[in-house]
Amino acid sequence: MIEIIDVFLLFFIVVCSVAAIFLKDLLSAIIILAAFSFLMAVEWTVLNAVDVAFTEAAVGAGITSVLLIATLSRTKRYEEQVNVPKEFAPVVHKGISTKIMPIVVVVITGAVLLYGTIDMPAFEDPNAPINKHVAPTYIHDADHEAGSINIVTAILANYRGYDTLGETTVIFAAGICVVVLLRREKWPEKKIT
C-alpha cells in the first residue's frame, strides 16, 4: 500500500517540475512550484523527516511562493518575446550539435549517477555507514546530554550551535542585502554649494 503512495507522490513531483519548466504563465508556474513543495513535504513525512517536512511546507510552499509573486509584481506575468535590435539579439546556433549535445551530456551524467547508486547501501539498512558513525551517539545521548527529546533540535541548537549561529547570520545578511539593493529612501534635499 505504502509503495503505491510513494509512486503516486514521485509521479506528481515529476509532473509538477516538468509543468513548471514549460509554462509560459509565470504566475501559474509559481503556484505549481508551491504544489511541488507541498508534495515534497509529504514525501519528507513519508521518509520520517518531519522537521524537514515542516520547513519545506512553511518555507517552500508558503513564504517562497509569496516572495516570488511579490517579485512578479515588479515585472510581467507572461514570458514574451521582447523586440530587441538585431545587433543585441541573442545568437542562435542552428546546428545538429546544439540539439544532440545537451541530450548526450544529460544521458552521460544520469548514467554516472545511476552507476554511483549501485555501491550505495540498501534503504533503511541498519548497517549502513551513516547509521554507524555519529548517529547512535546522538540517539543515545541527546536526551540526557542536551535536554531535548527531539534529536534534530538538540543537534541544531546544542551540538551544532556554531553552525546555527552562522545560519542565522546568513539570513540576517540576506535581509540586509535586499534592503541595500531595493529600498528607496527619500533623502532630505541638500543644496550643493
Partner: protein, 161 residues
C-alpha cells in the same frame, strides 16, 4: 499588493480572525521545538507569514502602521544579538562559547534555557527578515513597470542624471 480602493471585506475579516491563531501557532512551534518537529526557524517563518497575510489583506500602509520599517530593521539584528548574547553569557559563566552546561543551574535546566534563548533569537531574526523581504520586493503602488520606463525616457530626467 492590495490598494485601498480594491479592499475586500471578507478578506479582511477572515485574515483578522486567522492571524491571532497563526501567531499563537508560531509560538507553539517555537516552544515545542524540543518535543516535536519545529523550532526557531519554522516558528519565525510562520510569524513572518502572519504579518505578510496582514499586509496582503490591508495594504502596505496599514502594514507599515503595524510593523514600521525601523522596527523591522532593529529586530532583524536583535535576533542575531540574542543568539550571540547567549554565547557571551556562557563565556561569563566560565564555559566555552555556547557551552550551556556552565550556567549555575541544574544541568538539564541549563541546557533547556540555553536552547530556548538561541531558538528565540533565531525566531526574531527570521520573522523580521521575512517581512523585510516581502516589504522590499513587492511593488510599491506608485510604480509600475510601464511608469518606471516612461519616467526614465522623460527628457527632464535624462538631463538631471
Amino acid at each position: 499588493m492590495a490598494r485601498k480602493e480594491d479592499h475586500i471585506i471578507s478578506l479582511g475579516v477572515i485574515s483578522k480572525i486567522l492571524i491571532p491563531f497563526i501567531q499563537l501557532y508560531s509560538y507553539y512551534v517555537l516552544a515545542h521545538g524540543d518535543l516535536g518537529p519545529g523550532g526557531g526557524f519554522q516558528g519565525g517563518v510562520i510569524l513572518g507569514s502572519s504579518i505578510i497575510l496582514y499586509v496582503l489583506a490591508f495594504g502596505e500602509e496599514e502594514g507599515r502602521k503595524l510593523v514600521s520599517q525601523k522596527f523591522n530593521d532593529i529586530f532583524s539584528s536583535v535576533g542575531v544579538l540574542v543568539y550571540a548574547g547567549v554565547g557571551i553569557l556562557c563565556l561569563i559563566a566560565g564555559g566555552a562559547y555556547l557551552e550551556y552546561s556552565k550556567f549555575p543551574l541544574d544541568h538539564h535546566l541549563a541546557h533547556h534555557l540555553g536552547m530556548y534563548g538561541v531558538e528565540i533569537g533565531v525566531q526574531i531574526t527570521v520573522s523580521a527578515v521575512m517581512t523585510t523581504l516581502f516589504f522590499e520586493t513587492a511593488r510599491k503602488d506608485d510604480e509600475t513597470f510601464e511608469s518606471k520606463k516612461k519616467k526614465k525616457m522623460e527628457p527632464s530626467n535624462l538631463k538631471s542624471s
